[in-house]
Amino acid sequence: MVDIAKANEQALKKLLEARPFWVDIQPAIECVPGMKKNLILHAGPPVTWERMCGPQRGATIGALIYEGMAKNPEEAEELAASGEIEYDPCHHHDTVGPMAGIVCPSMPMIVTENEVTGQKAYQSLNEGIGKVLRMGAYDDEVIERLKWMERVLGPVYQKAIRKAGRIDLKNIMAQAIQMGDELHNRSRAASYILFTKTAPYILETLDQKKLPEAIEALKFMEANIHTFLGFAMTSAKVSLMAAENIEGSSMVTVMARNGTDWGIQVSGLGQEWFTCQSPIPEVLLFPGFTKEDVGRDIGDSAIMETYGIGGCALAASPAIVLFVGGTYDLAVSKTMDMYEITLGENNVYQIPSLDFRGSPTGIDILKVAKKNLPPFIDTGVAHKDAGVGQVGAGLCDAPMDVFKKAVVAFSKKYAKK
């Protein structure tokens, strides 16, 4: 009989031991495993063009225009539906995509490596807030920015990180959590730390003739409160990859949504997806939006909660509480709830207000099912239609169905073995 407790101990150990470093910036086609010209990666579990939600369709249209494969939205839509384009989840390619999570071959990607295992994970660079591809926007402004990121931002970063060699992301995240980030909805502190760590290398590798470009890159980096999100998500992904495929472990290794379905993967159940319809989050809406505008829960960023921060560390982030429409007591209470369904406490990410207790880490499907207590995601919420953008933010419970399905499969596989 398989020893579940022991297997979980091992999974959690691998997760906690992982040491993610930022090591490079490369175009997706050159670094992402299995990437090819006609492949579009998306957030969440597998989905076809027909079933894709608005924001993901919009982002796909934008990606095809950006890649030069279509001249206009109409052409792009036709191509997207033609069968010539293949779609696959980011997660199948060691990649994580925020919101729509669309990745195409030319995008410059953050490369994050787990020093312990040598595994790597990838994400495109963050575009900032407002009209952006990850929210499904695809107008000229969006495409122009993506081109600029490919032409200017990517290379500036690339030179800097190659000069630096590697930057310790776990160290940055540990500091940021002490500075009010929970690293899903808020990564402001981490973004500033990354800026200060990167800026000297940007200056050091500066091509004098391209000074204005370097200044543009630095300004962009400073202005974007989400600069760090991709570094955090790749850190989470690459750390969780180390804990995958451990026989007998009931620890969740992936939680992801595509705006149509909500899915999880479990260490002891390999790469099998357990999915159900993605819920419509009940969140605090920005002024001018109504409930009718809210799209179904979307994005791979739930990897942060899977990793033991984000919502799990909500008590560390009083600053985010108002933004998601709660009180500080609620934040503490939500974090306390997560201790009920996790396997252990983080050895590095500590919550100051809880006397530096480690954040609840390693979601266990068995505990979730037993206590009927789903994890929650501290998330941003997109408009249901393509291109409108973020309409609110809040705390969204994961649907219990995916955990129930996973527990059934887990029982089938491991009962009486």
């Binding site: 009180t327 007591d329 609620l330 503490v332 209470s333 306390m336 709830d337 201790y339 009920e340 037993k370 206590k371 207590l373």
Partner: protein, 523 residues
């Protein structure tokens, strides 16, 4: 009468919240009956019995919330549902704003309160056994408030607890005082030298209050649940409780309180106390005192004597002095009885006892049987005296309103006085009634203003009688201490002002009642 209902799927509330909401609904103007329950099989049966099981409730499951209201008109019945929804939302908001995190499981609770070694469990009966087992596996003593736990599960838990050296109090354990902390329905009694093991909740409350009111204190009061002393369980925790008190340094006197145990259990208790050097006082209501005496225990005749004997022993005094004092009081009671009886009108001769405590009701039945013969009851000592209709008294009648058939869709009568208030007035209309006897149980968990609640109906009852030229005696006993949140003193004052005679114990109140009924010829 119109009944309106609503089924809400996927909403869960704990039973305490639901009882409190149901109580507020019942108090709404014009509402005949109202209830809010989860749609378990047991609850549906209860609803069916009270005519509230609407068609749409029939296929409800454990996870469905059922709200129903009965009123003379549709609009009022409908207003119950709207009000219920408001109250349920309020209950959630209260919790959310409390600022303190509520653990979601035993695991979580232990995690937040490291060093805790005992858990109080109050969840739906069918899950309670498993939760209790999980607690025992974690090395925690258990107080299991939940009922509807199967006897097989109870045995499994208690055997496992015994093996691990852990107490399993309950299922259906309503009272305990552990390390000075009153749990569930229990009273505020200072810490002291007297330990209690009880298979009876109100019996434990009455004895511990008598001890407290005499100025002595309780080391530990361990409840076992009523079924423990039945043959199937074999008194596992009753015996473990005795052993624990025997080994406890703070306990100098041990009191055993129980309804009659099975002969086998009685024998085991006798065997166990034989080897104990500490004095043991036993009150086995309706049981044979000889077995206890043979084993070296002092067998008390009633709960009051059990408490007083324990106090005497704790003080190193001779318990023989108690009988003398009580004999003197009996003389006073006789005088009081003839004064009361003298004011009554021809034909007034019977008792109507309306109880909230089961053991107190039993005690009164026994005292009547010993002096005047059996009384009618839904659960009589003499089967010939079973009431045909529990809602209609005849001759001398006592009812325990805490019995399941009375608590259909409403909280226990120690919390919710509605039924008793109605029945006090009903009984007062009967020209044959001489005495209405009430127990008023104070302490945590009980109604917070019993004096105020009862004063109205007592006045009304006395006035109804007086208007027909009768003098109705309303006799109350109070189970409680001055330190209880309701304050014994305050409640006593309120009841007296309403015209009730207040006696210090149920035994004294029953003695007075017996004396009056005897004079009035109501045998």
């Amino acid at each position: 009468m119109p009944v309106k209902g609503l089924k809400k799927t996927g909403e869960y509330f704990d039973s305490v919240t639901l009882m409190l909401v149901a109580r507020s609904l019942t108090e709404m103007e014009g509402v005949e009956e109202a209830t809010v329950v989860m749609g378990t099989a047991e609850n549906k049966q209860i609803l069916a019995a009270s005519g509230l099981l609407l068609d749409e409730f029939k296929d409800a499951t454990d996870t469905d919330l059922l709200i129903a209201g009965k009123a003379p008109d549709e609009a009022t019945a409908g207003s119950v549902i709207a009000r219920a929804e408001e109250l349920l939302i309020e209950s959630k908001q209260k919790k959310a704003s409390a600022g303190e995190h509520l653990p979601r499981s035993i695991e979580g609770a232990v995690d937040e309160l490291s060093g805790a070694n005992m858990v109080l469990i109050s969840v739906a009966g069918r899950y309670a056994g498993d939760v209790a087992m999980e607690a025992l596996e974690k090395g925690l003593h258990v107080l299991l408030f939940s009922d509807n736990v199967s006897i097989e599960k109870e045995k499994e838990l208690k055997e496992f607890g015994r093996e691990k050296g852990l107490l399993v109090m309950g299922p259906d354990c309503g009272t305990a005082i552990i390390n000075g902390a009153p749990l569930c329905f229990a009273n505020v009694v200072k810490q002291g030298k007297i330990g209690i093991v009880a298979a009876s909740g109100t019996g434990l409350q009455e004895v511990s209050c008598i001890i407290g009111n005499q100025g002595e204190g309780i080391s530990q009061a361990i409840g076992t649940g009523g079924r423990d002393v039945k043959k199937d369980i074999g008194g596992i925790m009753f015996l473990e409780g005795i052993k624990a008190l025997a080994a406890d340094g703070a306990t100098e006197v041990i009191v055993l309180v129980s309804k009659p145990p099975s002969p086998e259990v009685l024998a085991s208790v006798g065997e166990t106390i034989k080897d104990i050097s500490k004095p043991v006082v036993a009150i086995l209501i309706g049981g044979d005192p000889k077995v206890m005496e043979a084993a070296g225990a002092l067998a008390a005749r009633d709960l009051e004597r059990a408490g007083l004997i324990a106090v005497a022993l704790a003080r190193g005094e001779d318990p023989a002095g108690i009988e003398k004092a009580l004999a003197a009081r009996s003389e006073e009671i006789k005088k009081q009885a003839s004064a009361e009886a003298g004011k009554m009108k021809e034909g007034q001769k019977y008792l109507r006892g309306l109880f909230s405590g089961g053991t107190l009701c039993d005690e009164t039945q026994l005292m009547f049987k010993d002096s005047l013969g059996p009384v009618y009851s839904p659960a009589p000592i003499d089967p010939d005296f079973k009431l045909d209709d529990i809602w209609k008294s005849r001759e001398n009648t006592v009812v325990d309103l805490g019995e399941d058939e009375f608590t259909v869709g409403r909280p226990h009568p120690m919390i919710d006085f509605l039924l008793r208030k109605k029945r006090i007035v009903e009984e007062a209309k009967d020209p044959e009634v001489a005495v209405i006897l009430l127990d008023v149980v104070l302490g945590y968990g009980s109604n917070m203003a019993p004096g105020e609640e009862l004063a109205g109906p007592i006045r009304e009852a006395k006035k109804l009688a007086a208007d027909s030229g009768r003098h109705l005696a309303v006799i109350c006993s109070i189970t409680g201490t001055h330190k209880d949140p309701q304050s014994r003193k305050k409640v006593e004052k309120e009841l007296k002002e309403a015209g009730a005679i207040v006696m210090e114990t149920n035994a004294a109140a029953s003695e007075l009642t017996v004396a009056i009924v005897k004079i009035r010829g109501g045998k």
